[in-house]
């Protein structure tokens, strides 16, 4: 089958009424999560995984992916109206978006953000369709040594790009790897770090940990947050001025390219693309001094970049099985729960899942445009819900969700425990992304390493005598040692 047939198959899956419905529900939930400050896409997808349990795998993944990029849309609304990012990727949008709102121009700011997000998301999905098949076919030739080296690169990028301190990031990576070792030895079957506690034989569940670190932890943190002040403004006129459209079009074009290509690199996170897009826009602008006072391209470009990034970041997840961010790690967890392993093999094994999901990204962007442009006023109203009503409900939902994963009270305890840890780590400003990524990639890394050694009869040189692992391991060393990467990492700051 050639690429075109796969695309058609994908759309025929994504266009099934039930799958369209899941995409729609996901988009609504995602926008909601994006709008609510505190709850990011990682928390949102983790909390909602139990809900997708009873769905078929395609429906579940379509819904979770829709939540993911829906949050990218929703975050803008909060940034513009409250000057608080609804999720991390909308930080930059606050700069000019909030200024525009103060001038009574919240409508055009949200309008151009929705249009830019749509265009960025759509083009990135097209690019994803084009590059993923050749990449997956290439990766299909990867054996355990190649997989091990690739995972090392992915993990070192996440570590190198996380937060201010490399030491803290390394500690958090090691913490994740140690957590990943709890349970049965994946090859020999001997229990490790189980202390005779039967539920630990199965290891520490990934989903309860993420629900705790991101969901519960963020709720704890939000309790300290001040009450939001919302700019009351008319949202009737969403269209930018005629002269702004030309500038915006170019900004959207640049944002799309920046977002997609940075999305291909695992570990970049959603913030760097928006930051870079903003800086580039300022550089090429005829009036750079006006940035920060409410110029429309200062909203259009980063908002486009974050949605383009969100779709671009699907490439390493789907083709190589490497999630580039905690949210994508959660989506990967959802694949695994449904008995599917993202990676090149899935393109052969379940083309309906892969291409159905990709096609749904495309449709989801259309749904989001429809949801956002006319209904933006409704979303803004959500900001008026009081925390004291909202968060206890979400907390209860987390507890029920964690229990429903395995009908295990132990999982609920794990979630609450990691909620407390997540709160502490946030207070310390230690990055959570490396822990989460190490926890999901750790077992695969260990497996790949040990299988490599079985293949070589115990000889470690198999990792450097094959060309691909050798090159990848050198890249990993450069990533961790290079000051340039550190500089980017400092900009990345927050997690999702």
């Amino acid at each position: 089958m050639d690429a075109l047939q796969y695309w058609i198959q994908g759309f025929s899956v994504a266009l099934q009424p039930t799958n369209l419905l899941y995409a729609f529900i996901g988009c609504v939930l995602g926008t909601l999560i994006g709008v609510l400050p505190g709850l990011g896409p990682a928390a949102g997808t983790a909390i909602l995984i139990p809900v997708t349990f009873s769905l078929d795998p395609i429906g579940a993944l379509i819904m979770l992916a829709a939540i993911y990029y829906g949050a990218m849309y929703g975050g803008t609304i909060t940034s513009v109206l409250v000057n608080v990012p609804g999720e991390a990727a909308s930080v930059i949008t606050c700069l000019d978006g909030y200024q525009m709102a103060k001038q009574g121009r919240a409508g055009p700011a949200l309008g151009i953000a929705a249009i830019g997000s749509f265009i960025g998301g759509t083009f990135a999905t097209l690019a994803l369709m084009v590059v993923s098949l050749p990449l997956a076919n290439f990766a299909l030739r990867f054996g355990p040594p190649e997989v091990f080296a690739l995972l090392v690169v992915g993990l070192s990028l996440v570590t190198g790009l996380s937060g201010r301190s490399l030491l803290a990031a390394l500690i958090m990576t090691a913490f994740g790897l140690i957590l990943a070792m709890i349970g049965m030895d994946p090859v020999r079957g001997a229990p490790r770090f189980t202390f005779g506690i039967p539920p630990l034989y199965d290891g520490i569940g990934f989903i309860p940990v993420v629900m705790g670190l991101f969901g519960v932890g963020e709720i704890f943190l939000s309790m300290e947050a001040p009450v939001l002040e919302i700019i009351k403004t008319k949202l009737n006129d969403l269209w930018p001025k005629r002269e702004e459209l030309g500038i915006s079009a170019k900004a959207i074009g640049r944002g799309t390219v920046i977002g997609f290509f940075l999305g291909l690199i695992p570990g970049i996170g959603a913030i760097i693309p928006t930051f870079l897009a903003y800086v580039v826009e300022k550089k090429v602008s005829k009036h750079p001094e006006k940035f920060g006072t409410g110029v429309i391209e200062g909203v259009a470009s980063p908002e486009t970049a974050n949605n383009s990034y969100a779709n671009g970041a699907m490439v390493p997840l789907l083709t190589l099985g490497i999630p580039g961010s905690p949210t994508l790690a959660v989506i990967m967890g959802a694949f695994i729960i449904h008995g599917l392993t993202p990676g090149p093999f899935l393109f052969k094994e379940r083309p309906d899942v892969v291409w159905g999901l990709i096609a749904s990204l495309y449709l989801g962007n259309v749904i989001l445009l429809i949801l956002n442009l006319p209904l933006v006023g409704l979303w803004a109203k959500l900001l008026e819900i009081k925390y004291q009503y909202l968060y206890p409900g979400i907390l209860l939902f987390c507890i029920l969700g964690a229990y429903s994963l395995n009908q295990s009270v132990f999982d609920v305890g794990v979630m609450v425990g990691f909620g407390v840890l997540g709160y502490i780590f946030r207070k310390l400003d230690w990055p959570l992304a490396p822990t989460v990524l190490a926890l999901i990639l750790g077992p695969m890394m260990e497996r790949a390493l040990r299988t490599s050694l079985e293949m070589s009869g115990g000889d470690l040189s198999i990792l450097v005598t094959r060309p691909i692992p050798a090159v990848l391991l050198i890249i990993a060393v450069i990533v961790l040692a290079s000051p340039a990467v550190r500089l980017l990492g400092k900009r990345a700051g927050k997690d999702d």
């Binding site: 299909l140 054996g143 349970g183 020999r188 079957g189 229990p191 034989y201 008995g339």
Partner: protein, 333 residues
């Protein structure tokens, strides 16, 4: 509050309610008289991920049998540590007939026999109720492999001891034991590589990372039909009805190399006799049902019902057969 938010809340609370009902059902495990069994849904544990061979078989059986049972049969997946997590779970359940599990032979035997596994259950922790499937072992290579027959493989293995990479779907699984039997019977030595399960093993074999793989007919049958892999031998006394063109190991001169994955329903020790009888009656009828047979045929899973003492005897004999093999593995560490 907006319309969306209200709908969402409603939707959330209905999900919550469902979870609470589940919780309630799980908690209300009041002792009931065996005569009335079953008065509530029965959980059937599968110790591996959804979509695998065991899971497929279990779901087919549950769908057919629950009509006769009068209560829902709920398949619960408890994967982990090469089925050990699920077995641990099963051994800790109350023996009231409301929690049954699919048990894989010889995995359960090897886990019990291998001291390194530190299993909290033993041979007497389970009561065999009824067997469903005997899935014969299969030796296979990728379609482009130089080995066209088992003889070519063994001849090459004799020339290059410890160099030919042979893969399993897990340490001390039936596939692993099969490789050990083959080594013993043919006087060869393979370099054994363990994978986590069928899909991983398949990728690695197709990608040329390993030279030969040991798995089961039910898992790999569709690949042979699709022409991507080549079966060298079925490790059974008779030819497989799903792959009649592939010779058996005894035909090829290795009568001792017979291996299969045997999957059936067991309960935690102490399930009352009348309840066991009832389960056996209903499940046996379901297994003979044309709907069950038809679906199992499509999945290339060979149905072999064994009830009560016949199944218990099979379990015991499997345990005895595994002892020397596991001892050899333990010694080799």
């Amino acid at each position: 509050m907006t319309i969306q938010a209200r709908d969402l809340k409603k939707w959330k609370s209905s999900v919550g309610l469902m979870l609470l009902v589940d919780l309630f059902l799980a908690c209300s495990a009041i002792a009931q008289s065996p005569a009335a069994y079953p008065t509530r849904p029965i959980s059937i544990m599968v110790p591996s991920i959804a979509g695998g061979g065991t899971d497929v078989g279990a779901r087919i059986l549950a769908a057919v049998a629950e009509k006769k049972m009068g209560q829902p049969l709920v398949v619960v997946n408890k994967p982990g540590a090469g089925t050990q997590v699920g077995f641990t779970e099963l051994s800790r359940q109350k023996p009231d007939g409301y929690y049954l599990g699919f048990v894989l032979l010889p995995q359960i035997n090897t886990i019990i026999l291998d001291p390194e596994r530190k299993a909290i259950f033993n041979f007497d922790s389970f009561v065999p109720i009824i067997n469903q499937v005997v899935d014969a072992g299969l030796i296979w290579v990728r379609a482009g492999s130089p080995y066209k027959t088992l003889k070519e493989l063994i001849d090459d293995a004799k020339k290059r001891p410890g160099e030919i990479r042979a893969s399993t779907t897990g340490i001390l699984s039936d596939d692993h034991l099969a490789i050990l039997m083959m080594e013993q019977a043919a006087g060869v030595k393979f370099r054994i590589v363990h994978f986590d399960g069928g899909p991983q093993q398949l990728t690695a074999t197709l990608g040329g990372q390993v030279d030969v793989s040991f798995d089961n007919v039910g898992v790999i049958n569709a690949r042979i039909k699709a022409g991507v892999v080549r079966g060298l031998a079925v490790m059974d006394k008779e030819r497989s009805k799903f792959l009649p063109e592939i010779p058996t190991t005894p035909e090829l001169g290795y009568p001792a190399v017979v291996s299969s994955s045997t999957r059936g329903v067991m309960g935690p020790k102490g399930v009352p006799e009348p309840i066991i009888k009832k389960i056996q009656e209903v499940f046996l009828e379901a297994m003979k049902n044309p709907e069950h047979m038809d679906k199992m045929d499509k999945a290339a899973l060979a149905v072999k019902p064994m009830v009560g003492e016949e199944y218990a005897k099979f379990f015991r004999e499997m345990h005895e057969r595994c002892k020397p093999l596991v001892e050899a593995v333990v010694k080799a560490r």
